[in-house]
Symmetry: C2
Subunit: 180 residues, 2 copies
Amino acid sequence: MQALRTAAALFYAKGVRAVGMEEIVETSGIAKTTIYRHFPTKDALVEAFLKQEDAEFWQQWDAAVASASSADAVLDALGDWIGARVERPGYRGCPQINVAAEFADPGHPARIVARRHKAEMLRRLEAICQSVGAKPTAQVAMQLALLIDGAFMSDGRLSMGDAAATLKAAFRRLTSPDRL
Amino acid sequence: MQALRTAAALFYAKGVRAVGMEEIVETSGIAKTTIYRHFPTKDALVEAFLKQEDAEFWQQWDAAVASASSADAVLDALGDWIGARVERPGYRGCPQINVAAEFADPGHPARIVARRHKAEMLRRLEAICQSVGAKPTAQVAMQLALLIDGAFMSDGRLSMGDAAATLKAAFRRLTSPDRL
DNA sequence: AAAAAACGATACCGATCGGTAGCGTGTTTG
DNA sequence: CAAACACGCTACCGATCGGTATCGTTTTTT
């Protein structure tokens, strides 16, 4: 669906509520009727947008981590990847969090996708913390998750320094198995 | 302005774009004419909302930190305060970040307030890192900022464990002046 | 008590919102 | 070749959007 790709780009760049269906029609060249044949409501389109973002996210995550040999190397690779992602021109924060900010209803279909996305991230971070031997596994994983989400929502502040270096240094300190 | 208080509550609970002026009128009992005499546009009202949130935030921050004697005690106090804040019922993330997610234009008056707010936070964290002797001062301050923003936007995930404990442990590890 | 400022109520504005109906044109599938 | 399907186009729907005009009433100030 070319309509979904266009909608996703507009939703991310301008915010979901700021983009009307007509704008998606004009930008994509797809008729409004056709869009509504594939997605019964705008909410469904937003949900599809987040699902697509989720899929691409883990795809890139896996690619970034693929060549890492050790668990520590995985963390470094993640730091590099996230740093580069945040510094990308046009980056405007985590789409899952952005949508959650726009739609207050926790039962909104898109919110459910966002929650699953963040749960999956925590799950993966816990696995990493496990193999790296970080002390209270669950707690350190949560700390890494907070750090990453904070990086996503830093609104360019992080880009002023070396984002990747900042993240990797924090990853190392938080996962180091030394003393209290 | 009672209208601002009502608007602030609605904006935070439902999202700015989800709240119409008419809803503010009905909820506050203030006539629409009166609101527009004090705030020329809705954007101005949103800006005032964030300015008010900013003021209250630092007021509470200062209060939370007031009784701390050492620099380390300041960090612990912040961890406790943020942990309690995030776990509060009806908490829906940092209003500054939420508004930034809703309004893509970086020049929006509310976005400027949000940027100043985050710059002020980084400034304060740098001062704390300075007095606690954290190694690359600016970098550690940024790491603390990311952690805090991540906590704000954790959407309840953090509340499932002990939020304050998770934050304080991370604060300690990130600011500890030891090796590497 | 008089003048000035603030407020409330109603009615309205054009624009846009998400969503639908109807109809014609291709394009695939059998 | 024919039947089914997918798409585009136009026009339209009621509702709501942010914002304004008008006017009478209340409250404050002097």
